[in-house]
């Protein structure tokens, strides 16, 4: 009984936490449409989303979107 309750609880927490550590494909909305940036994972993904924008060589900034919308 104890094992069962513990297992169910653990399963629940795992199922909520796993989804947060994903890799995601990112893109930014360029002047002529979406520009793919490739797949980002873990800290890289986190940093990119924190920054929120992509700046090109001309100094133009574009909003970055990651994950399926």
């Amino acid at each position: 009984m104890k094992k069962l309750i513990l297992s169910v609880t653990l399963l629940g927490f795992l199922s909520t936490s796993c989804a947060k550590n994903k890799c995601a494909e990112c893109h930014y909305d360029g002047p002529s449409g979406e520009v793919e940036m490739g797949t980002y994972c873990g800290d890289e993904l986190h940093d990119l989303e924190d920054l929120g924008t992509f700046t090109d060589s001309l100094g133009n900034s574009f909003v970055v979107h990651c994950g399926e919308h």
Binding site: L4, I5, V8, G12, E49, G67, E68, H69
Partner: protein, 744 residues
């Protein structure tokens, strides 16, 4: 709380009465022959036994007090009676027939027959409701007149009682109050239909019974009964839904041996985007859900203990999101069905832990319920790694009540309280609500008097206090709200066919933190919300009249009601927008009147006993001097269902066929800037077959929305983006149950 625990411990350790069994026999009233297979239930102890080939049964213990007993057999009229436990043998006689409308209810703070209660309560068996093929608990409950559902796709749904929903409806699971950020229209119920046995609904204010927030009504869900004494059962079920290419797998194990019972259940559901009548798919309406449940109970003479744990984790996509600058309904509909996790999404986790203790003496009963619940709500909007909102809601709940019974009178006195903590995770991008704590304390009394066999009245009084305090320096708020509440009811049993019931009840709801302090984006609701810290509690008074006519072949219930609502809190757009999202303000309506009518009827002809027709009608009207209506007011509805069943003696035991039709009127009485909705009709066909071969098999199949009607429900949160409900679809479900007798 400490004294209550000491009390409970003292009762538990008191000398027990000698354990002594009770035996009995059930006979046919006309032929005096023994009846096999009669299910004899003691609802207070949640114990079931079945009569053997000689019509004999036995309880392995006795009780000192008078207890309600229910005897049920498919070929006989249900017998509801009450007996004292200090007898050694019982004898019951059943009359042939199958028409019954009375059920045992638990939601009015007492285990009693529906007829022995002045509070109007609707009771339904979940198994019966499941014949409709509904996707979730909220949809199953819509078969009850006056009960509707509010949805955000398939994964997020909650019940609406006479136009009230969310925080105005208290939901209890086995007596434990469910708290899951109900303030948000996009926050679901967080409870699956797994192992649920029955649902009771109290329509209208019920603050005397359940305190603050029970302004619009109460939904009381109860787990299915434990296995019969000396038996273990295993149920395996698989459902498949064509519309969502989805499936639900579930497992339920029950065992009752000696004085111990256990129930363990689990299920997993995974559904992709639902298909619309035009063949496209509702983008990001996908969801998956884990549900777990475990109960352990043991009883001794005159006492029962129960531990329960329930877990629910839902990951639901939030439809209605687009990056199109000029969004049209087609912006939210896609060619391909998606199942993969996609933004925006909601993670909703509920955990419920409770302990219940009941103790019986001659003419007295003590009941203690202790509970701890945890709700975690996480919403991801634009970013994969950073939640937009993440909140944990902890609730510590207790209720203690003492019941004293005399020959014709009953008195219940109780106290109830809740400590609630709302905590935001630092990682979240926004805090729609600040960290805060809420403390509720209530004391109540209910007095029932049976003047004669025909007349009964009940009066209830309750005083509640709610303290709210934020734990944020930048957004400090401290409030105390208190309110007395009253209910009074009268029941008149004119004769065996006719009963009238009049009930007057009040309700109270203190403003929620979201209404007082909100100041931020609420993406699930697609709006920027601004609260008002000067809001005062809502109050409601309802007068409810119910007349029942029951005959051998049918029944009719007419239930008009009228409610006065003061300081009703609503939200409406102020015409501004922030970052392209419309801004909504909370405000109060000084006075409103709500009145309506619930009708229900059931008929089965004498010449065709297996044919049943059930129909119901629901009408709600709201008006106020300030505005024409409130938002999300349910439209008028007519539901009809024809059922036929065939009984067999071979491998196939029974086949049930159901054809149902629902007509929903147009709703043009809308609040400021609310979208009206058009009338629509739905037809569903469902069939169920019971087979017996190495166990019991149940095969259910059906087609929902047979005519592929393109409808937009007035209470759907997707109405604003022009998203219709699911198109025509098939489903199939197979359940297998194996039973085994075990030594006691």
């Amino acid at each position: 709380m400490k004294y209550l625990l000491l009390w409970a411990a003292a009762f538990a350790s008191s000398p027990l009465l000698a354990q002594q069994g009770i035996t009995g026999i059930v006979l046919d009233a006309q032929s005096q022959k023994a009846i096999q297979g009669v299910l004899i239930t003691v609802p207070s102890f949640q114990i079931q036994v079945r009569s053997d080939a000689k019509g004999q049964f036995s309880f392995p213990f006795s009780w000192s007090d008078q207890q309600a007993l229910r005897l049920k057999h498919p070929d006989y009229q249900i017998l509801d009676t009450s007996v004292y436990g200090n007898v050694s043998s019982l004898r019951f006689e059943l009359n042939l027939g199958h028409m019954t409308t009375e059920e045992v209810t638990v939601s009015a703070q007492q285990v009693s027959l529906r007829a022995k209660n002045t509070v109007p309560i609707e009771v339904r068996s979940i198994n019966e409701l499941q014949l409709s093929g509904g996707m979730h608990v909220a949809e199953l409950l819509t078969k009850i007149p006056g009960v509707y559902m509010s949805t955000l796709g398939n994964g997020i749904a909650k019940p609406v009682i006479r136009g009230m929903q969310g925080m105005r409806v208290v939901t209890l699971v086995n007596g434990l109050r469910l708290e899951g950020q109900q303030w948000g229209g996009d926050h679901g119920l967080g409870i699956g239909e797994l192992a649920l046995g029955s649902a009771e609904v109290i329509k209208g204010p019920a603050s005397v019974l359940y305190g603050a927030d029970a302004l619009g009504g109460v939904v009381y869900l109860q787990d299915e009964p434990y296995a019969r004494i000396g038996q273990q059962t295993l149920d395996v079920q698989q459902k498949w839904n064509q519309n969502t290419s989805g499936s639900t797998s579930s497992l339920l194990y029950k065992k009752s041996q000696g004085n111990k019972r256990i129930l363990v259940a689990g299920s997993y559901a995974n559904h992709a985007d639902f298909q619309l009548p035009n063949g496209l798919y509702a983008k990001n309406s996908r969801f998956h859900e884990w549900v777990g449940k475990a109960s352990y109970s043991w009883f001794k003479p005159n006492q029962i203990h129960q531990f329960r744990y329930a877990f629910n984790n839902t990951v639901a996509g939030i439809p209605g999101h687009t990056h199109d600058s000029l969004a049209t309904p087609l912006s939210f509909q896609v060619q391909t069905q998606g199942r993969k996790y996609s933004l925006p999404a909601q993670f909703f986790t509920n955990q419920l832990l409770s302990y219940e203790y009941k103790r019986f003496w001659t003419g007295q009963e003590f009941n203690l319920l202790l509970g701890q619940t945890h709700n975690r709500l996480v919403e991801y909007d634009e970013k994969v790694t950073k939640p937009f909102m993440e909140m944990d809601l902890f609730n510590s709940i207790y209720q203690a009540k003492w019941t004293k019974k005399w020959a014709q009178q009953q008195l219940i006195i109780g106290v109830a309280g809740m400590l609630q903590l709302n905590l935001n995770a630092p990682i979240a991008a926004d805090q729609l609500l600040p960290d805060a704590q809420t403390f509720d304390q209530g004391i109540f009394g209910l007095y029932k008097y049976e003047l004669s066999k025909a007349h009964m009245f009940q009066v209830g009084l309750r005083q509640d206090v709610r303290w709210i305090q934020t734990q944020s320096d930048s957004l400090f708020l401290q409030r105390r709200y208190a309110s007395p509440n009253l209910s009074a009811g009268w029941s008149w049993q004119v004769n065996s066919f006719q009963r009238h019931r009049l009930n007057f009840s009040s309700g109270f709801r203190a403003p929620h933190l979201s209404e007082l302090l909100a100041n931020g984006f609420h993406h699930g609701a697609l709006r920027y919300e601004i609260g008002d810290s000067s809001l005062v509690p809502e109050r409601s008074l309802q007068l409810d009249w119910s007349s029942d006519w029951n005959t051998e072949h049918g029944s009719i219930t007419v239930n008009p009601y009228h409610a006065w609502v003061r300081d009703y809190i609503y939200i409406q757009p102020n015409g501004n927008s922030i970052d392209g999202i419309p801004v909504f303000n909370y405000a109060q309506l000084e006075l409103g009147r709500m009145y309506g009518l619930d009708l229900s009827a059931h008929y089965h002809p004498h010449w065709l006993h297996n044919l049943h027709w059930e129909g119901n009608f629901s009408y709600i009207h709201f008006e106020s001097p300030q505005d024409s209506a409130i938002s999300l007011l349910p439209p008028t509805r007519v539901q009809n269902e024809i059922q036929y069943h065939w009984d067999f003696n071979g491998t196939i035991q029974k086949i049930e066929l159901s054809v149902s039709h629902a007509w929903m009127a147009a709703q043009t009485r809308v609040a400021f800037q609310e979208t009206p909705s058009e009338s629509y009709q739905l037809i569903h066909i469902n069939a169920r077959c019971y087979l017996e071969k190495n166990g019991i098999w149940m095969l259910q199949t059906g087609v929902r929305n047979l005519t592929n009607s393109a409808y937009i429900d007035h209470l759907s949160r997707l109405k604003n983006i022009g998203m219709p409900g699911p198109g025509r679809h098939f489903y199939i479900s197979l359940k297998y149950q194996v039973q085994q007798q075990i030594k006691n």
